[in-house]
Amino acid sequence: MTLSTLPKGTRGRIVRLPEGEVRSHFIRIGMVEGATIACLERLPGGTIVLEFSRQEIALSGDLAAGIEIVVI
């Protein structure tokens, strides 16, 4: 499944990140393959608010759809 379908209040582990520069950016901020993330909030239209290692970030739906995860 992808991050865009992770329900609010649940946690997941990143299995695969998208390619390209955005991948490097995710690695820089510590959102690497294997990292645990929690979905804090889902907004209408697919924007998603995440928490991982004490950081909160917001992603638009199209980016979240490119990140493969497993629910834990």
Partner: protein, 675 residues
């Protein structure tokens, strides 16, 4: 699990001596992730005199100051040194030229921030680390062993609570003691291999991490993305390992601020919170500043005192007709009288005294009509000097101060990225991402100011769309006041139609541009910093910097704009333009011929255009047609000039001509349907 790491001892790298313009002044560069308190440290060290300018070839602002015998540079907030966007490219170049790097990290987000720290160390720079927001870490029961961090990184570390000025006195020692830190051994070996070609370890690292621009400067090929990823993952792992020795973490309860932060991006509470904030901003900027403060500064001080004295001083020895309008309690002209001075006020002091007695205690306006066209050009009704001065200092300055104050409060509280998150989806329909909400809101203050702010958008495509929408469909505060007054007399139906037309037009333009321009909306990936109570001194300083920067950028354009219209007026070209517009205005827009004057005056100041409609006695639907035309019509000359500068001559001209054509077309269609 420990990786091979060398404790780097200073040794000579061939050709690494940085070429300094002023070798006596070492360059200290402040580097950090966004929202770590970098600007507070910069303000603490820099004192009052800061030089803010655009980095050459970009629209990124860079601050430079002097600190003791050092040159101090601030850089844009970045997550790493590379060239993914303009901010990163600017920061990268300043860092490459720096001698001492002071890296500010957020104690709560060490895992994120130390990636940059380690990268700076890998560059072989002399580094000192400021661990900021220790109070926040303590609140969340995050323990940080600063000594262990210092040992692990191999560079000096100090802890601070910058907003409360705690620990900032140690930053000086940090600058003095900054040194090269521990570097990864195999990476260091690779870097040495490249040193002969590239000349500095820092640039060698950039090339190795695939920075095409740096590689090109040295005429070699950059490494591919897989090498970068290998280095990045290695660095990320080292940081994670290091953190286990440095950070101890107990789960703590959430504070109110954190809860507020969460609510502000929730679908249920987010929009009500936004409504409350926007209402507060409206009452502060739109009512208090725009009406009360500006009413006093522009009307009483600017026109009543300053302009009056300048003009009567100029008129001492110049042929002039002074028209005095005595006003009644409603501000309407009760009685008007013209006084003629063939040889200036000085020669006929008795008559001038009589003119000044004429109001007899009532409010009055004095209009000076000079015979000499040069005096008209600079000091007349639309005088380039008198009008620009009043406008800039007494109208625009309070307004811009008010807007930037509100913006700085929202920025320092951590709300802005949450606002961007909340509205991201909506703005994507019109080809923008959530960040564009800031220039769009600023546009209701001053379109010129907002056009400059479009720089914060990630792509040229978004800057084009945002600028077009601002210039076309967003009425600025000066205009809004007049529009609101006119609509109040025109009634509810007229107001609804006006709002409906402008709003649908805004959506239409955005949608069409989104569909037709190549590329797509850049995805939103935004860091949500902790919500914090903003510090007044920091907010004030930010407000003053931003206002100063804006006034410096925009003032010449306001002057040139007024001068252009002044020349048109003096040479008589203005009359020809108005005559030329007349058939369109009368037949197509179905408005009185005097409305043409209002439209052309709108060029100088958008509010002049709308204000010119006051006395035309329009029926409600005529008001709607006129206001639609004037809102969509070309913005004031200053915003046009700033747009041409920001967007380039060709694109700016297209937007300008487009707005002219669209304003007349849409205004006419509305008029033909309604009337």
């Amino acid at each position: 699990m420990s990786e091979p790491v060398i404790r780097h001892r200073p040794h000579k790298h061939p050709g690494t001596e940085t070429v300094l313009a002023d070798p006596a002044k070492p360059r200290v560069v402040l580097v950090g992730n966004p929202n770590v308190g970098k600007s507070v440290v910069f303000n603490y060290l820099s004192g009052l005199y800061v030089d803010v300018s655009n980095f050459p070839g970009t629209t990124v602002e860079v601050s430079k100051a002097s600190y003791l015998h050092y040159d101090l540079f601030d850089t844009p907030g970045i997550y790493g040194v590379s060239s993914f966007n303009d901010e990163e490219r600017v920061a990268r170049d300043i860092i490459l030229n720096g001698d001492i790097i002071i890296n500010i990290v957020d104690a709560v987000h060490l895992e994120r921030d130390l990636f940059l720290t380690q990268q700076l160390i890998d560059m072989g720079k002399r580094v000192g680390v400021v661990v900021n927001m220790l109070d926040e870490a303590k609140n969340r029961s995050i323990g940080i062993d600063l000594a262990a961090l210092e040992e692990a990184l191999g560079v000096p570390v100090v802890g601070t609570v910058a907003v409360r000025k705690k620990g900032l006195e140690d930053v000086h020692a940090l600058i003095v003691n900054a040194r090269e830190g521990r570097q990864h051994r195999s990476l260091h070996t690779d870097l040495h291999a490249m040193l002969a070609t590239v000349g500095s370890q820092a640039e060698a690292l950039m090339v190795l991490e695939g920075d095409g621009i740096i590689a090109q400067r040295h005429g070699i090929a950059a490494s591919d993305a897989s090498r970068r990823e290998e280095i990045y993952i290695g660095r990320r792992n080292r940081v994670n390992t290091l953190l286990q020795r440095v950070v101890s973490d107990a789960h703590a309860s959430r504070r109110i601020a954190a809860r507020l932060g969460r609510w502000s991006v929730s679908p249920w509470f987010g929009f009500p919170i936004l409504a409350v904030i926007l209402t507060a901003v409206y009452f502060f900027v739109g009512v208090f500043v725009a009406q009360d403060v500006v009413g006093f500064t522009e009307g009483t001080v600017g026109q009543g005192i300053v302009e009056f004295h300048i003009k009567s001083w100029i008129a001492r020895n110049a042929a002039t007709t002074v028209t005095v309008d005595r006003l009644d309690a409603e501000g309407e002209v009760a009685e008007s009288r013209a006084f003629r001075f063939d040889e200036g006020l000085h020669a006929d002091y008795e008559r001038w005294a009589e003119a000044r007695r004429f109001p007899a205690g009532h409010d009055a306006t004095f209009t000076f009509s000079f015979d000499n066209p040069w005096l008209v050009l600079f000091f007349g009704e639309f005088g380039a000097i008198t009008m620009t001065f009043t406008y800039l200092v007494f109208l625009l300055l309070p307004l811009v101060l008010g807007f930037y104050f509100a913006l700085s409060v929202l920025e320092d509280s951590g709300y802005l990225p949450r606002l961007a998150t909340l509205v991201d989806r909506v703005l994507r329909y019109i080809g923008l991402n959530g960040r564009a909400v800031i220039p769009l809101i600023l546009g209701f203050g001053c379109v010129t100011m907002a056009t400059i702010t479009t720089r914060l958008l990630g792509s040229q495509r978004e800057r084009t769309i945002a600028t077009t929408i601002l210039q076309l469909a967003i009425p600025c505060s000066a205009q809004l006041g007049v529009i609101a007054a006119l609509l109040a007399t025109a009634g509810a139906t007229a107001t609804l139609i006006y709002t409906g037309v402008i709003f649908s037009f805004l959506v239409l333009v955005g949608t069409v541009m989104n569909r037709s321009l190549p590329g797509e909306v850049s995805p939103l990936l935004i860091d949500l910093p902790m919500m914090r109570m903003p510090r007044l001194d920091n907010v004030m300083k930010k407000t003053l910097y931003k206002t100063w920067f804006f006034m410096k950028e925009a003032s010449p354009w306001f002057f040139i704009g007024a001068l252009t219209v002044g020349i048109l007026q003096v040479t008589g070209a203005l009359v020809h333009i108005m005559n030329g517009l007349e058939p369109l205005v009368v037949n197509w827009l179905q408005l009185p011929r005097e409305a043409a004057t209002a439209f052309v005056m709108g060029l100088v100041r958008r509010d002049f255009g709308a204000a010119g409609l006051y006395h035309l006695n329009l029926v409600p639907f005529q008001t709607v047609a006129a206001l639609v035309t004037i809102t969509l019509f070309v913005p004031c000359v200053a915003s046009l000039m700033v747009m041409l500068k920001e967007r380039g001559l060709r694109e700016g001209a297209i937007i300008w001509v487009g707005s002219l054509v669209l304003a007349l077309t849409i205004g006419g269609i509305v008029s033909q349907i309604l009337i």
